[in-house]
């Protein structure tokens, strides 16, 4: 009986914690709305539907990257090679369409590149047991050089109009790519939160040894997460090429840090197990909206990094403090309850 009570209390404690994690995403959305409202008070044009749709369109790149990265972060690893993957796949597929190749081929090639880079990362991290931070940092450097060698250090320009057009197609007034990405985010969210295999990712990040004991193929799922991250980075590369219309050798330089920051802002924990793709996507919208918000506020653009940096620090610190306090409280209640049941038994 006592044992059962104990388990019951544990379950209550657990549900409290999941309540808090849900709260995290909720707070991110509130935060995004507050940003829009605050900027909207100063300049009401910012709240125009056109601008909101525009912000989603501008953040597509970041959303795709952040969503892919979330898979890796959920398993408790990190991938900072995404900027390199983006650049290389954009360059290779850019050359294909520039030289008259089909767009379909370019997409396939980009995906293969992303998957390969992810596979190498995944194998290095899981089988050679290299710390994922170091592995992907080294990979970032290597992939960048490969891009320079491939493009001979030149920009890739003169992409055909039909390729550039892809990012501009509108459906019912909304950007087509935007609709696809939003749908994909929702599907991936349902997969990660509701399907058995989707839950594996956060299970691994939450408790790796526990996941092994439960029979989850940890190594395979970690590699899969890196492959997914690589593929989404290469898709982001395609979006980049289509939106910008040319690919410089520095395409995607430093973007990895912005994307990690976006995921963290969206409530994804770098220690694994906590977070969702929806949160990461909202974080990505926040990060990329800072720029346009500054424009609407008539604040010089050079404030961008300061604002995003302090935003990240403040939000994460506040989050951790709130989470810890809630945890402590839950623990205390659990202890109290245990003492009470003991008394009753006596």
């Amino acid at each position: 009986m006592l044992h059962l009570e104990h388990i019951k209390e544990e379950v209550i404690g657990m549900s409290k914690i999941t309540g808090i994690t849900k709260y995290r995403e909720f707070r991110t959305i509130i935060f995004l709305i507050i940003i829009f409202l605050l900027v909207g008070i100063v300049n009401s044009d910012f709240l125009a539907l056109e601008n909101i749709l525009n912000s989603v369109k501008n953040s597509l790149l970041y959303i795709v990257l952040a969503v892919g990265l979330t898979f890796v972060l959920l398993t408790g690893e990190i991938d900072i090679s995404v900027g390199g993957t983006l650049g290389l796949s954009a360059a290779v597929s850019g050359v294909i369409v520039r030289d008259g190749g089909s767009i379909f081929l370019a997409i396939i090639v980009a995906i293969v590149i992303g998957a390969l880079i992810g596979l190498v990362n995944g194998i290095g991290v899981t089988k050679l047991k290299i710390s994922s931070f170091i592995m992907t940092l080294g990979m970032l450097e290597i992939v960048r050089v490969v891009q320079v060698i491939y493009t001979d250090g030149k920009w890739i320009e003169n992409l055909p109009a039909n390729f550039k057009q892809i990012s501009q197609i509108n459906l019912l007034g909304m950007n087509l790519l935007g609709i696809i990405v939003i749908l994909a985010v929702i599907i991936l969210h349902l997969y990660l939160s509701n399907s058995r295999k989707g839950r594996y990712f956060s299970a691994i990040g939450d408790n790796e040894d526990g996941a092994i004991l439960m029979g989850i193929p940890v190594i395979r799922y970690k590699i899969i997460s890196f492959v997914i991250c690589g593929i989404s980075a290469s898709l982001a590369g395609l979006i980049f090429a289509s939106q910008v219309g040319f690919i410089s050798t520095t395409a995607g330089l430093g973007i990895e840090m912005t994307v990690i920051a976006a995921a963290v802002l969206g409530g994804v924990s770098l220690s694994g197990g906590i977070g969702s793709v929806v949160g990461a996507a909202i974080g990505a919208i926040i990060m990329s909206s800072i720029n346009s918000a500054l424009v609407f506020l008539k604040v010089p653009a050079f404030w961008n990094a300061t604002i995003s940096g302090s935003l990240l620090i403040v939000i994460v610190v506040v989050d951790v403090l709130i989470f810890r306090r809630a945890n402590k409280k839950a623990k205390k209640e659990r202890l109290n309850a245990r003492v009470l049941t003991l008394k009753e038994e006596v």
């Binding site: 990190i78 290095g124 089988k127 050679l128 047991k129 290299i130 710390s131 931070f133 170091i134 592995m135 940092l137 080294g138 990979m139 970032l140 450097e141 290597i142 960048r144 050089v145 490969v146 320079v148 060698i149 250090g153 790796e208 040894d209 092994i212 004991l213 029979g215 193929p217 940890v218 190594i219 430093g254 840090m257 990690i260 920051a261 963290v264 924990s269 770098l270 220690s271 010089p300 050079f302 404030w303 961008n304 990094a305 300061t306 604002i307 995003s308 940096g309 302090s310 990240l312 620090i313 994460v316 610190v317 951790v320 403090l321 810890r324």
Partner: protein, 339 residues
């Protein structure tokens, strides 16, 4: 077991030393100019900043943390030095000193948030990285100077700080050695250094034995920030101008020096001698490749591979057993608990 592991570190240093000798011989055979001592000593100018930061990032990594904000602190301190000296009209040495202290403040912020608020080091230093370089950009933006040209017009005395020589030895070499000695004594010859190791090996045990690990952790980030401040001043002096984007590409080389130097990224083991040797190995590698006619933009391939392979080589249970496990991986399909 433990003594075996402690023995392993000097052995790795020996390997690094041999690599260094090998590099000098091979690159010298490719281009005999590499054997000119002056060329080698002058090349310290190119990596002294990386090495100085790497010495103290080694401290941070030994405690089990990580600091990726060093490169941004370089940019910030460079801009602060320039603005205080050129716009406020302060004495350049006082300006430089204040800039180093600003670096220390950045480190303090990192350290307090990591040690006391217990937020992940990676997240805080990532935020710090954005924030510090952001402040540098804002300072440059507000002052109305061109971002590209930066602030210049420093006195010859200050320029000499990095470019001068004493008895034919470049200042950068002397600085490298002086800071190395300071870091070495702090980490390997004082009680503080032992506390740094103990914090990294087992923070709870360290706490229970009466060490204020939060203070120890914070102090390592302050040291790392101060060293980045020094590197910022040196770089400003070496290049004769202040720019916000100085140090922006230092993240990778700093971590390469630390990790290649034999410090475990998971904490608890490592040392500054290894970091020093590794930074020279990487510095000479770049120099040698450049002198061998390899374009600068391709050199990242070599350093990236070096980083990955050295970590694979130095990994926790030893590379050999890992290769063995890699080959026999099919036997334990469920993964193994020693992960």
């Amino acid at each position: 077991m433990k003594s075996g592991m402690l023995k392993k570190i000097p052995k790795w240093n020996l390997i690094l030393l041999l690599t260094l000798v090998g590099e000098i011989i091979i690159f010298g055979l490719i281009n005999p100019r590499f054997w000119n001592l002056n060329v080698l000593l002058n090349s310290f100018n190119d990596f002294v900043g990386i090495a100085i930061i790497a010495f103290f990032v080694t401290f941070v990594v030994i405690t089990g943390g990580i600091d990726i904000s060093g490169g941004s602190i370089i940019g910030l301190t460079s801009v602060v030095t320039g603005m205080l000296a050129q716009f406020v009209g302060m004495n350049i040495w006082i300006a430089a000193l204040l800039a180093v202290l600003v670096g220390g403040l950045c480190g303090l912020l990192n350290g307090v948030l990591i040690a006391y608020a217990k937020v992940q080091a990676m997240v805080i230093t990532l935020g710090g990285m954005l924030l510090y370089s952001g402040i540098a950009i804002v300072l440059v933006g507000l002052s109305g100077t061109s971002t590209y040209e930066g602030i210049s017009g420093f006195s010859q005395e200050f320029i000499n700080l990095a470019n001068g020589k004493i008895l034919g030895i470049p200042h950068s070499v002397i600085l490298f050695l002086v800071i190395l000695v300071i870091a070495y004594i702090l980490l390997h010859r004082t009680r503080y250094g032992r506390y740094v190791y103990l914090t990294g090996i087992n923070q709870n045990a360290a706490d229970y034995s009466g060490i204020d690990t939060r203070k120890i952790i914070t102090s390592t980030y302050i040291l790392s920030g101060l060293s980045a401040g020094i590197a910022g001043v040196i770089l400003t002096s070496y290049l004769g101008s202040s720019r916000a984007d100085f140090g922006a590409e230092y993240l990778m080389p700093i971590l390469t020096a630390v990790v290649l130097g034999g410090t475990l990224i998971t904490g608890g083991k490592g040392g500054v001698i290894g970091t020093a040797l590794a930074s020279i190995v990487v510095g000479f590698l770049k120099l040698g490749l450049q002198m061998g006619g390899v374009q600068t933009q391709y050199i990242g391939l070599a350093t990236g591979l070096l980083l990955i392979t050295s970590v694979a080589f130095l990994g926790v249970p030893g590379f050999k057993s890992k290769v063995k496990r890699f080959l026999t991986i099919k036997k334990d399909r469920g993964g193994n608990l020693h992960a």
